[in-house]
């Protein structure tokens, strides 16, 4: 029987209340949202905390997807299922729908949250790749107010983020640019599993040429990896199979996979190239209305 080591349970009633509890408890405390990463780790004693602060009541405050003219704001307590079922996200950023369909399973998606997924900072976590691809920023609130960090600043290594011991991730912001689309490709060993490699791509076109493109890869480095070299190679050029292949080669060269039980480093590099090609191809097809 697997149970976590003893801890004290408290429930936060607001973001500020949660920050107050964290400030008092320090690094012996941890926020629990969906709990589907934290509780398994606590059962295995890979994580041990004396206090768990349940923030599920904050879904009222932090469960939202708000579309603004230049920005989509997603509250940190928005659950996977809500991301999957959002018509706004499906229309503006289909990469979310692609990814959510292959994240865990429907029951887990009923509980897990985007904030929890990002804060877990698992190198193989799919939403991290989505947010990196979309050039998202993270709003972190603490006793001294709010700060906004890029995804590159957010990640500090496997399972480590910029969120301090007395801080809470409250919102993810995604910039909106016209005439773009996105896609997500993942290869796992079985349905609902972590990625062997997963890849997001976002492309923006103007007059048939790529004005900007971004690729984000998960499971091929200590954290989700954005590949700036891919963006540089694609800007100003017309989409083509040759160009996708070139981008794929850059992605394969730029990532740092390791051999583990999910596959060899060489196989993961191969996947990084192939999934980059597929994701770019699909994103472009979506801009052109050739694919949903």
């Amino acid at each position: 029987m697997q149970v976590p080591a003893p801890f004290e349970y408290e429930r936060a009633t607001s973001v500020d209340h949660a920050i107050g509890l964290l400030s008092r408890r320090g690094s012996t405390a941890r926020l629990i949202a969906g709990g589907h990463s934290l509780l398994p780790m606590m059962k295995l004693r890979l994580a041990n905390f004396e206090y768990l602060i349940d923030i599920n009541d904050l879904h009222r405050e932090l469960g939202f997807i708000k579309v603004e003219p230049t920005l989509v704001r997603i509250g940190a307590m928005t659950r996977h299922r809500e991301l999957l079922e959002s018509d706004d996200l499906r229309r503006m950023f289909p990469i979310f729908n692609d990814a959510e369909r292959v994240i865990a399973d429907p029951l887990v998606r009923n509980r897990g949250t985007i904030g929890g997924a990002l804060c877990q900072a698992d190198p193989s976590e799919d939403l991290s790749a989505v947010c990196t691809t979309l050039d998202a920023t993270c709003v972190i609130r603490g006793p001294d107010g709010e700060r906004v960090v890029t995804m590159a600043e957010f990640y500090r290594g496997p399972y480590e983020t910029a969120v301090g011991a007395d801080e809470i991730l409250i919102e993810i912001r995604i910039p909106v640019w016209p005439n773009g689309s996105s896609a997500f490709e993942k290869l796992g060993r079985r349905a609902g599993d972590w990625a062997v490699v997963s890849c997001g791509a976002a492309v923006w076109l103007d007059d048939g040429l790529i004005t900007d493109a971004r690729v984000g890869l998960a499971a091929v480095g200590p954290n989700t990896t954005g590949i700036p070299a891919v963006s540089l190679a694609l800007q100003g050029r017309a989409p083509s199979e040759e160009l996708y292949a070139e981008a794929g080669e850059i992605a394969a060269r730029s990532c740092t996979p390791v051999t583990d039980q999910r596959g060899s480093a060489a196989y993961k590099r191969h996947l990084a190239a192939e999934l980059t090609r597929r994701a770019l191809r699909r994103a472009v097809a979506r801009i052109r209305g050739e694919e949903r």
Binding site: P6, Y9, G35, K43, L107, G192
Partner: protein
């Protein structure tokens, strides 16, 4: 700590440890052993129950987190001694052999039918994709849900056990 929640329509209050998992609260503290305790790692789905109307894996929810909320277990499916259509579907179409996954399967497919009264085979398979059955190969589970959907819609014309599809 003290926790109060509504389980199958009844308010219950118990003194528990913060680390107690919902599945053990239901089975050991309330005696509701219909909910099965399987893999312990949120993979198998045998422990699926409803939390505020949505199926969740109760091995990965703290009992404390369910405090103030509404839980429904497989014991809460029958009404006034009459089995739910989904339960009858599993009986009619051999939706189980050993029965270990069945309570979880019943809870997720009941939730599916509440949202989509006539789901496609693909939708049924997606709905149970977080649960493991080692007996049926899922084919008879799909058929059981289709039976229940037809039963509820009043369109069931043949006896499912004789169907060969």
């Amino acid at each position: 700590m003290r926790v109060t929640m509504r389980v199958n329509g009844n308010d219950v209050t118990r003194e528990i440890e913060g680390r107690l998992l919902l599945v053990h609260f239901l089975r050991d503290h309330l005696g509701l052993t219909g909910t099965h305790w399987g893999c312990d790692t949120s993979n198998c789905g045998a422990c699926a129950v409803w939390l505020d109307g949505e199926p969740v894996k109760s091995c990965t929810v703290l009992a404390a987190m369910a405090g103030g909320h509404e839980v429904r277990t497989v014991e809460g499916l029958e009404r006034r001694g009459e089995l739910d259509a989904i339960q009858r579907g599993f009986m009619e179409c051999h939706g189980l052999q050993c029965g270990f996954c069945t309570p979880g399967m019943l809870m997720t497919t009941r939730a599916l039918l509440d949202r989509h009264p006539s789901p496609s085979e693909q939708e049924i398979r997606e709905a149970i994709s977080g649960q493991v059955c080692r007996c049926t190969g899922y084919a008879t589970i799909v058929r059981s849900v289709q039976w229940a959907a037809a039963e509820q819609a009043g369109t069931r014309t043949t006896i499912a056990a004789n169907e060969t599809s």
